[in-house]
């Protein structure tokens, strides 16, 4: 399966738009959901998603089979999401400088009650209280079923760090969700 992804990237590098479309349609949902859970904002996630696949198009002519294509996509998505978070923090600081009553950063989740059940909101709220790297590691393991090695490549950390991040994420979520009475 992964060999066919790499062959598709090779075809994209040779100018095959159909191959590009296939790759986008195959991976967009996973990447979008990962970015959306990291950022908590659908519009920002869509922007990042577009940037991820545009980066793939530009990189395709020189893409090397050192990692799976999906691993590469998640790595780019994670890094772009971090940039987006840093950008938002800067904007937030600027906005707060002009506000009489600054909002806290743990504001309401972007999920509206129209989109998610109450339980889902509680889970998202708990997830959003995790540090970004713990949340990313947990999502990549649980939602995307990636190995610790792959997660380490995506987050640019060692396998033992991945283990630690996921352990801490689960421990913290366990505490938060127990408090909310969801377990």
């Amino acid at each position: 399966m992964e060999q066919s992804d790499f062959k598709l990237v090779e075809a994209v590098g040779a100018g095959d738009h159909q191959a590009y479309e296939l790759l986008v349609r195959k991976h967009q949902r996973s990447v979008f959901n990962f970015v959306y859970r990291i950022l908590g904002d659908r519009h920002a996630a869509e922007d990042v998603l577009q940037e991820v696949f545009w980066a793939l198009y530009r990189a395709a002519p020189r893409f090397e089979a050192r990692a799976r294509v999906s691993t590469w996509l998640f790595k780019v998505a994670y890094n772009l999401s971090l940039n987006e978070i840093k950008k938002r923090k800067r904007l937030l600081h600027l906005r707060e400088a002009f506000r009489a009553h600054p909002r806290t950063e743990n504001g309401p989740s972007a999920l509206s009650t129209l989109e998610a059940s109450e339980l889902e909101e509680e889970v998202m709220s708990a997830l959003n209280r995790l540090p970004g790297n713990q949340k990313a590691a947990l999502l990549l393991r649980v939602s995307e079923e990636l190995s610790y090695v792959e997660i380490g490549e995506i987050l640019s950390v060692s396998v033992s760090s991945v283990e630690s991040l996921i352990f801490r994420a689960r421990s913290r979520l366990r505490q938060l969700l127990k408090k909310q009475g969801k377990e």
Binding site: V24, F32, N33, Q50, W54, Y57, A116, F167, R174
Partner: protein, 137 residues
């Protein structure tokens, strides 16, 4: 092994990321310790909750938008009339410039393909692209 040590390994155990010796030690302990079994069960429940989050789709037609962007990045391609986009004007200028430099040599050579790793928009890359155009190579 102490519960604290076991619980630190529970995450990796649940994910199948422990080596077999460590996994056996954890399994053995879980068989005897209700507390650690409870923690493992809680971790699995947490995973279940995260996994149950809705899988959403991006609202826009991403593939279509990207294909449009890809098409635009090549610049307009017209076979009738003159393309007056800035990129096309520049390419025509470079084509004539390269013709002057390479006057008398065969445009059909492919020997330069071994150097086909010039950065994009470098003179070398543009020259190789011109050689590949129909009627030139």
């Amino acid at each position: 092994m102490r519960c604290q040590d076991i619980q630190r390994n529970l995450s990796a155990y649940i994910d199948g990321e422990l080596d077999s010796a460590s996994a056996r030690r954890v399994e053995h302990h879980l068989g005897q310790c209700g507390t650690c079994r409870g923690v493992a069960a809680d971790f699995r429940d947490v995973d279940g909750l995260v996994r149950s989050l809705s899988r959403l789709d991006a609202s826009s037609d991403l593939a279509g938008q990207l294909l449009e962007m890809v098409g635009e990045s090549r610049g307009p391609t017209t076979e009738k009339g003159v393309d007056r986009s800035p990129f096309a004007v520049m390419m025509r200028f470079m084509s004539r410039f390269m013709d002057l430099l390479e006057a008398g040599s065969s445009p059909g050579t492919r020997a330069l393909e071994e150097f086909d790793d010039f950065p994009p928009f470098s003179l070398g890359s543009i020259y190789l692209k011109l050689l590949d155009q129909p009627g030139r190579g």
